[in-house]
């Protein structure tokens, strides 16, 4: 039998998880033993992923090690601001460079020397989990630079980055919350961890194996090859199904990661909280992939806001400033999903929509009509808002799912 299996989708994974859970809980009286067991388990399990080899592990450790050295230097006693800034830029820059290299093909193209033949998809290098562990590493480098994280230990940091339940697709935990759980397993938590972890795993499997599988045949991904043959009704149905499929698939992964971590006595942050029941697109995004949106708010939105406050055009115009910062943040979110122009448009579309909702919310407060105020507070208002928000989210998916040439075909099909 080879040591290769898919995470969450194979019996071997679940058996391995049970063995690790027993080991970690048995050795959990000592923080150090628990830390060593967790790191060894994460290493062994990552090497079991079919698209993850020894070289990938070495790369992950190299990126983790270099960001650790930067974080460690930043927690030192030096108060030389320029030196600390240089260390943070070097540490963060290295992580960003690795992220850009492994995520974007055009960056890899810069390093190819033109054989005259276009590279095949298999020629591109790929590193599983690169986005997620890069975000975690950047978080630690930035927070140690801000001195909100004051100590970083090697074993804790390597465990934080390579923690196997959330390695591939998050949730993106924060270092202080993760590390405080690396202490000895509190006594008397086995029953509640088993119950809650088990329930989350069942919820996740149900979303993935039943709900996602049910809606997938109706998605535009399933009929992608013949867009011009799909009528308006097929396109609308395809968009709704795609939105539901994205939710079921990714929320399923998050449930499984959170449930698996719970069996090990660790609590990961929530990632989804009924996003399609929210009354506007701003609320939807604070309940969809929550660990990423909070990361983007902390490390893209607020830094952009701080920069724009120094610009004369924006300083006296807070709404314009917030709109610009939100649009930049969601363009970054779009760019994270892919390098093509359609992802930038998708991000900008959401950024502008969230800004419009913010303006609308401000205006709502000034409305004097009691009937309208009752409507704003009513369940009917909430339902209409949720339905409208879902329609917007689904419609905007055309920009996410198709590149510009496919969008032209789709537009032709819609106008026919």
């Amino acid at each position: 039998m080879t040591w290769r299996f898919e995470f969450y989708g194979s019996l071997q994974f679940w058996v391995a998880l049970m063995v690790v859970a027993v080991l970690v809980r048995a050795g959990g009286a000592s923080a150090r033993v628990k830390g060593v067991l967790l790191l060894a388990s994460s290493t062994a399990l990552l090497l079991a992923i079919p698209r993850f080899g020894l070289l990938d592990l070495v790369l992950v450790w190299a990126i983790t090690g270099s960001s650790f050295l930067a974080a460690r230097a930043l927690t030192g006693p030096s108060s030389d601001a320029a030196r600390r800034r240089s260390i943070a830029i070097a540490g963060g820059g290295l992580v960003l460079a690795a992220l850009a290299f492994f995520k974007y093909r055009y960056v890899q193209d810069l390093f190819s020397f033109g054989s005259g033949v276009g590279p095949a998809a298999s020629d591109y290098l790929f590193l599983l989990g690169i986005s997620y562990f890069s975000f975690k590493a950047l978080h630690v480098v930035i927070e140690t630079h801000r001195r909100s994280i004051t100590t970083v230990a090697a074993l804790d940091y390597f465990n934080y980055i390579t923690f196997f339940p959330s390695f591939i697709s998050g949730p993106i935990s924060r270092y202080p919350q993760f590390v405080e759980q690396l202490g000895p397993v509190p006594p008397g938590t086995l029953e509640s961890d088993l119950s809650r972890g088990g329930q989350r795993i069942v919820h996740g499997l149900f979303k993935k194996l039943v709900l996602a599988k049910l809606v997938f045949p109706f998605t535009l991904m399933a009929i992608g090859g013949s867009l011009d043959a799909v009528g308006r009704r097929g396109i609308a149905l395809g968009l709704y199904a795609s939105a539901l499929y994205f939710y079921f698939d990714f929320a399923a992964y998050s449930d499984l990661a959170i449930g698996a971590a719970r069996l090990l006595g660790m609590t990961l942050p929530e990632n989804f909280d009924n996003p399609f029941l929210r009354r506007n697109i701003r609320e939807l995004w604070t309940h969809w992939h929550m660990s990423l949106t909070s990361w983007l708010v902390d490390y893209v939105y607020w830094p952009v806001v701080r920069r724009l406050r120094q610009v004369a055009l924006f300083r006296p115009r807070p709404v314009l400033l917030s709109t610009a910062a939100m649009t930049v943040t969601f363009i970054a979110c779009g760019l994270w999903h892919g390098e093509a122009l359609n992802f930038i448009l998708w991000g900008a579309c959401h950024g502008v929509a969230i800004s419009l909702v913010t303006v609308y919310q401000r205006r709502k407060r000034t409305v004097r009509s009691p009937a309208l105020q009752r409507y704003f507070q009513s369940r009917t208002g909430a339902v209409i808002g949720a339905v409208g928000t879902f329609h917007f989210f689904a419609a905007a998916l055309v920009l996410f799912l198709f590149d510009l040439s496919q969008l032209r075909i789709l537009a032709r099909a819609l106008l026919r």
Partner: protein, 48 residues
């Protein structure tokens, strides 16, 4: 009727779990018995 509803509300979590486990088993058996079995369970966000 109201007692039944009350009992259902009190055991909501258990009912939901039983329902989910039943359909998970159906899905697993369905894929196991399919003539062309599906590949491993892939997650769309795994490549981001």
């Amino acid at each position: 009727m109201s007692r039944l509803l009350q009992s259902m509300a009190a055991h909501r979590a258990l009912i939901v779990l039983t329902f989910e486990i039943f359909w998970i088993l159906v899905a697993v058996l369905d894929s196991a018995s399919a003539t062309a079995p599906a590949g491993p369970m892939q997650f769309i966000y795994a490549n981001f």
